[in-house]
C-alpha cells in the first residue's frame, strides 16, 4: 500500500468530490463503506473527464460499496456487451475482499449512480480497471479490518477473513460480518494508487474458469435490451432517410402519413420522425411521407476507393523508423513488393442501435444501446442546454458493440423526437438504418516493400498504410532498417468518401496484421524457407517467439522442405492491446468452385495474467469466428453516398458451416499484468487463411475478402 494516498472523510458537512453534497450522495446509494478508485494503468492512458465538465467525480472512475447487508456493489460506467466482464470483474473483487462471488453485484452504465467512464472499448476493462479495482477492494478490506479490530478488541494482524466474516484467529467464535460492520456507517474513501504486479498465485477466484452469470436470463428472454423497454405513453419512431448519405432534405409532405391512425409526424431540422404507439403503423405511415432531397455525390465506389486513396494528396507521417532504409535495401538479395486492399466492413451486431428517450419536467432520461453512456450524457446536455445532473443515461444489456456503438446517433435522434413531440420515444433502428449509418471499419491500402539478405534475414522494411491507421504494424520482427508511414487526409482537403468510419474490433489492426503477415510469408518464399522457421529466425520479441512456438506445438506443426508445400497450412501472428497471438490454420481449396474450407485453426495467446481462462477462450473463439466473416464474405458495397448492402441478404457474415475446429492455448503468465482479451485473436485470421491458401495452391490474393471469384482469379494467375 505504500504508493497510495488515502483521504478519509467522516464528517457529513463538506461537499465531496462528486460536486454533490455528501448526504445527497449517500441518499442516492445508501449508507455503508465506499471506496472510490480510478481505473488507470501505468502504461496506458485512459481518458478522464475534462475538468469542470462533470458533476461526477473528476478523478475517480469507479467505486465499490460494502452495503449494510454485506452485499458488495461495484459501480462502474463500463457496460456489458457480451464480453463477459460482468463475471471477470466479480472474480477479481471476490478474491480481494474474501467474499463469495454471489455476494457481489455489478452496477453498470447508469450515469446517475455510476461514476464517469470514457467508454467500454480497447479491451481496457480488465487490463487497466482490474488492478485498480483490486486496490480499492484491498482498501475496503483495510477499513473493515480496522472497524473489526475496534469492535472485537483484537489487533488487526490477528484477524482472518473468510467469506465476508472477520474472526479472531485465536478465537474463531469471536467474529463479525462485513454487513454488521457497514451498518449505520457512512464512510467514504478516495484512493490514488499505482498498480503493481503482485503474486496472483495465492488467489482463489482469479485465474480460474467461470461461466457467464447472465446466461439464465438470456436463455429465457427475460434479459432486457434497450428495445425491450416500455414506459407509459411511449411511441415508436421511424425516421425518414434519404437514399444516399449525401442527401439534403429539400421538401417534405407528410399529410398522408398523419392520416394513419395514431400517427404524429415531427420535424426538427433535417430530422423527420414518424411516431406511433404501434411500430408497424409507424412503418406504414413512413411509407406515405413524400420527400425530396438534393444529392451531391462524390464519384467513388467500393472498387475505385483504393485507387483514389493511393492518388490522393495525403499526409505522410512517419510513425516509427530506425536504421537506414536505403542502405538496408542495398544489403538485400531479394526484394518483395506487395499492395493490399482491404474494404469497408459493417459492425453488423444483431441488435440494431436502439434508444428510448423520455423528458419528465426538467429531466431527460435516455436508455440506449451504447458503449459510451457518459459521452452521450455530455452530448445530450450540450444539445438541449441542460445541466448534466438533469440528464441520465442508462445502458441495459447491449446486443453486441465491437466499437460500433460509440457514437450514439440513434440516442440523439430519439431525444430530439421526444423533445419535439413531447412524448417518450422509442427508436429501434431498422437494419437498413443500421447499415447505412454505421461507423464502418475503414477501407485501406497497404504498400509494403521489403527485402532479405542471403542469410534470409530481413534487412529493409518500408511500410505505407493509406487511410487505415497503423495499429498492429509495430515492429515485432528484427528489422534493423525500417520505416512505418501513415498516409491520411490532409487538413482542408476533400474527403475521399462520405461513409462514416470508426473503431471496429481491434481497429485497423486487422488490416495491418494482414499486410505484415502476408509480406513476411512472401519473404519466407523468397528465402526458400519454411514459414515457421523463417519467422522464428527473424523474430526478436521473446513473448512472440514463445507464443508462436506454443501454437506450433499445439498444431503439431512439421516444417516442410518446400514452400508452398501443398498441405494448405498457414501461419500468422501479431500483437494487439498488449496481447500476443499466433495462429496456424489448415484449409482445403476446391479449385473448381473457388470455395475454401477451413479445417482447423489453432491459436496461442499470451495475454499476461488471465482472470478467467474460460471467458478469455470464449472471446478468442468469438474473435476467430467473427473474423471468418471478413475473411470470406464481408465487403460493404457503395457508390458515392449510397450504401448498397442494407441487410443480411447481401451483407453476409459468418455462418455455422464456415466455423472449423478451433483449438487454443492461453499461455500461463500469471506473474504478468493482464492485457486485453476482447480483440487480439481477430487480427491474424485474414493472413493465416491467405497464407494457407498460398501453401495449398501457390497462388496469392491481395484483396479482401477471399470470395470464390477472387480465389478462381488468383488460381488463374498463378
Amino acid at each position: 500500500m505504500k504508493n497510495e494516498k488515502t483521504k478519509t472523510h467522516v464528517s457529513g458537512k463538506d461537499k465531496d468530490r462528486r460536486g454533490m453534497e455528501r448526504r445527497d450522495f449517500f441518499k442516492l446509494v445508501g449508507g455503508g463503506i465506499i471506496v472510490f478508485f480510478l481505473p488507470r494503468c501505468t502504461t496506458e492512458s485512459v481518458p478522464v473527464a475534462e475538468p469542470g465538465k462533470r458533476s461526477l467525480p473528476k478523478d475517480y472512475n469507479a467505486f465499490l460499496k460494502i452495503d449494510e447487508d454485506g452485499t458488495v456493489h461495484c459501480y462502474t460506467g463500463k457496460i456489458e456487451q457480451g464480453q463477459g466482464i460482468i463475471i471477470s470483474l466479480v472474480q477479481i473483487m471476490a478474491d480481494d475482499l474474501n467474499v463469495p462471488m454471489e455476494k457481489i453485484k455489478m452496477v453498470m452504465g447508469d450515469t446517475e449512480i455510476c461514476p464517469w467512464d470514457g467508454g467500454t472499448w480497447g479491451s481496457l476493462t480488465i487490463r487497466s480497471f482490474g488492478p485498480n479495482m483490486r486496490r480499492a477492494a484491498a482498501e475496503a478490506k483495510g477499513v473493515l479490518l480496522e472497524l473489526a479490530s475496534n469492535k472485537l478488541k483484537v489487533p488487526a494482524s490477528q484477524l482472518v477473513v473468510v467469506d465476508g466474516v472477520i474472526s479472531d484467529s485465536n478465537n474463531p467464535g469471536k467474529s463479525v460480518t462485513y454487513g454488521e460492520l457497514a451498518r449505520g456507517r457512512k464512510i467514504d474513501k478516495y484512493l490514488d494508487v499505482k498498480p503493481e504486479v503482485e503474486d496472483y498465485s495465492k488467489f482463489t477466484f482469479i485465474g480460474k474458469s467461470f461461466k457467464r452469470n447472465d446466461s439464465k436470463i438470456k436463455v429465457t428472454g427475460e434479459a432486457k435490451y434497450t428495445g425491450d423497454l416500455k414506459v407509459p405513453g411511449m411511441l415508436f419512431a421511424r425516421i425518414l432517410r434519404p437514399a444516399s448519405l449525401s442527401g439534403k432534405l429539400s421538401s417534405v409532405d407528410y399529410s398522408e402519413a398523419e392520416k394513419v391512425p395514431g400517427t404524429i409526424v415531427v420535424r426538427d431540422g433535417d430530422l423527420v420522425g414518424v411516431l406511433n404507439e404501434n411500430f408497424v403503423l409507424a412503418d406504414r405511415a413512413l411509407e406515405k411521407v413524400k420527400a425530396e432531397y438534393t444529392y451531391d455525390e462524390i464519384q467513388v465506389d467500393n472498387k475505385t476507393i483504393f485507387e483514389s486513396m493511393l492518388k490522393a494528396d495525403s499526409t505522410a507521417d512517419v510513425e516509427t523508423t530506425a536504421g537506414d532504409l536505403e542502405a538496408g535495401f542495398k544489403l538485400c538479395d531479394k526484394i518483395v513488393e506487395t499492395e493490399i486492399h482491404d474494404p469497408f466492413l459493417a459492425h453488423a451486431f444483431i441488435e440494431t442501435h436502439s434508444a428510448l428517450a423520455q423528458f419528465e419536467k426538467d429531466k431527460l432520461t435516455v436508455w440506449a444501446s451504447s458503449q459510451t453512456p457518459y459521452l452521450l450524457q455530455d452530448a445530450l446536455a450540450n444539445h438541449f442546454s441542460m445541466p448534466l445532473n438533469k440528464v441520465r443515461v442508462i445502458v441495459p444489456f447491449v446486443g453486441g458493440g465491437f466499437g460500433g456503438k460509440s457514437k450514439n446517433q440513434q440516442a440523439m435522434e430519439a431525444a430530439r423526437l421526444a423533445k419535439a413531440s413531447g412524448k417518450p420515444v422509442m427508436l429501434i433502428w431498422t437494419r437498413e438504418d443500421e447499415f447505412m449509418y454505421d461507423n464502418f471499419h475503414t477501407a485501406g491500402v497497404l504498400k509494403i516493400k521489403s527485402g532479405i539478405d542471403k542469410e534470409g534475414l530481413i534487412k529493409a522494411w518500408d511500410y505505407h498504410a493509406y487511410f487505415c491507421g497503423t495499429r498492429g504494424s509495430e515492429i515485432i520482427y528484427d528489422m534493423p532498417n525500417h520505416k512505418i508511414t501513415s498516409h491520411d487526409h490532409k487538413e482542408n482537403t476533400p474527403r475521399l468518401h462520405i461513409l462514416d468510419i470508426g473503431p471496429w474490433r481491434a481497429p485497423n489492426n486487422n488490416t495491418n496484421t494482414l499486410g505484415r503477415e502476408l509480406q513476411i510469408d512472401r519473404l519466407a518464399v523468397a528465402a526458400k524457407m519454411d514459414p515457421l522457421e523463417f519467422r522464428l529466425k527473424n523474430l526478436k520479441d521473446q513473448r512472440m517467439i514463445d507464443t508462436l512456438k506454443a501454437a506450433a506445438d499445439l498444431f503439431g506443426y512439421v516444417p516442410s522442405k518446400k514452400y508452398p508445400s501443398g498441405r494448405g497450412i498457414g501461419i500468422a501472428l501479431g500483437t494487439d492491446v498488449g496481447t500476443h497471438v499466433a495462429e496456424i490454420a489448415e484449409i482445403e481449396v476446391d479449385k473448381k468452385t473457388g470455395r475454401i474450407k477451413v479445417k482447423r485453426i489453432v491459436c496461442a495467446q499470451d495475454m499476461g495474467l488471465c482472470v478467467n481462462p474460460h471467458g478469455a477462450t470464449m472471446q478468442l473463439e468469438g474473435c476467430i469466428t467473427m473474423a471468418l466473416g471478413y475473411t470470406f464474405k464481408e465487403e460493404m458495397n457503395f457508390e458515392g453516398g449510397v450504401v448498397k448492402d442494407l441487410n443480411f441478404d447481401t451483407y453476409e457474415i459468418t455462418r455455422f458451416s464456415m466455423v472449423p475446429k478451433i483449438e487454443s492455448i492461453i499461455l500461463d503468465r500469471m506473474d504478468q499484468p493482464p492485457h486485453g482479451g476482447g480483440e487480439p485473436a481477430i487480427i491474424a485470421v485474414g493472413a493465416v487463411i491467405g497464407n494457407a491458401f498460398f501453401d495449398a495452391t501457390g497462388a496469392r490474393m491481395f484483396q479482401m475478402p477471399y470470395t470464390p471469384e477472387r480465389v478462381l482469379e488468383a488460381l488463374k494467375k498463378a
Binding site: K216, K218, V219, G221, G227, K230, E351, T352, F648, F656
Partner: protein, 158 residues
C-alpha cells in the same frame, strides 16, 4: 380492418381484436409484451425473431398475426415448463452458448424446432439446420455443442 384472431400462445388461448396484416413479431412484442423475441433484420435473414408455429420454427418478422389464426405459437417465454428450463435452454447455459445474448432466443427456438422434427439429429444436421440463424459474437461452436447435448438428453430422458 380489425378482426378477432384466436390462437394458442405459450399454451394459453389468446384472443386479439387486431388488423390481421400486422407483423407477428411486433404483435408479440408490443401488444402482448413478449419481448424475448427479437428484431434483427425484418426480412427473415437473421433468425433472431424465430418462434414455433405448430412446432415449426418460423421467422415472426415475416409472418402476420392473421397467419397464426387457430395455430399454436410458442415463444422463448413459453419454452420452459413449470419453472424448469427446456433442455435446449439448459444446454445453452451449461455450454455458455452465448455472449451478448441477443440472437439467443431465436437460436434456442430454432434448435427446439429442429429437435422436435428430428430427435435423432446428427451434428452435421444441426449445423445445416442452424445455418440461417446469425450470431455476431461468434458463439457458434458452443451453440452447436449445446444443441447436440440437448438432443442427447431429450433422446435419453423424455
Amino acid at each position: 380492418m380489425e378482426e378477432t384472431i384466436i390462437f394458442q400462445l405459450n399454451g394459453k388461448q389468446t384472443e386479439l381484436k387486431i388488423d390481421p396484416t400486422q407483423t407477428l413479431l411486433w404483435v408479440l412484442r408490443n401488444n402482448l409484451g413478449l419481448t424475448g423475441t427479437k428484431f434483427g433484420c425484418g426480412i427473415g435473414f437473421c433468425g433472431s425473431c424465430t418462434v414455433l408455429i405448430d412446432n415449426e420454427p418460423v421467422r415472426s418478422c415475416s409472418t402476420t398475426v392473421g397467419d397464426v389464426k387457430g395455430k399454436n405459437v410458442v415463444t422463448i417465454e413459453g419454452l420452459s415448463k413449470d419453472g424448469e428450463l427446456h433442455p435446449v435452454q439448459k444446454a445453452f447455459v451449461e455450454h455458455d452458448a452465448l455472449q451478448c445474448g441477443f440472437c439467443t432466443p431465436g437460436m434456442i427456438m430454432n434448435a427446439a424446432g429442429l429437435l422436435i422434427k428430428n430427435p435423432a439429429i446428427t451434428r452435421e444436421e444441426i449445423i445445416t439446420g442452424m445455418e440461417d440463424n446469425l450470431c455476431r459474437c461468434g458463439a457458434h461452436v458452443h451453440i452447436i455443442d449445446a444443441v447436440e447435448a440437448a438432443a442427447k438428453e431429450m433422446k435419453g430422458g423424455k
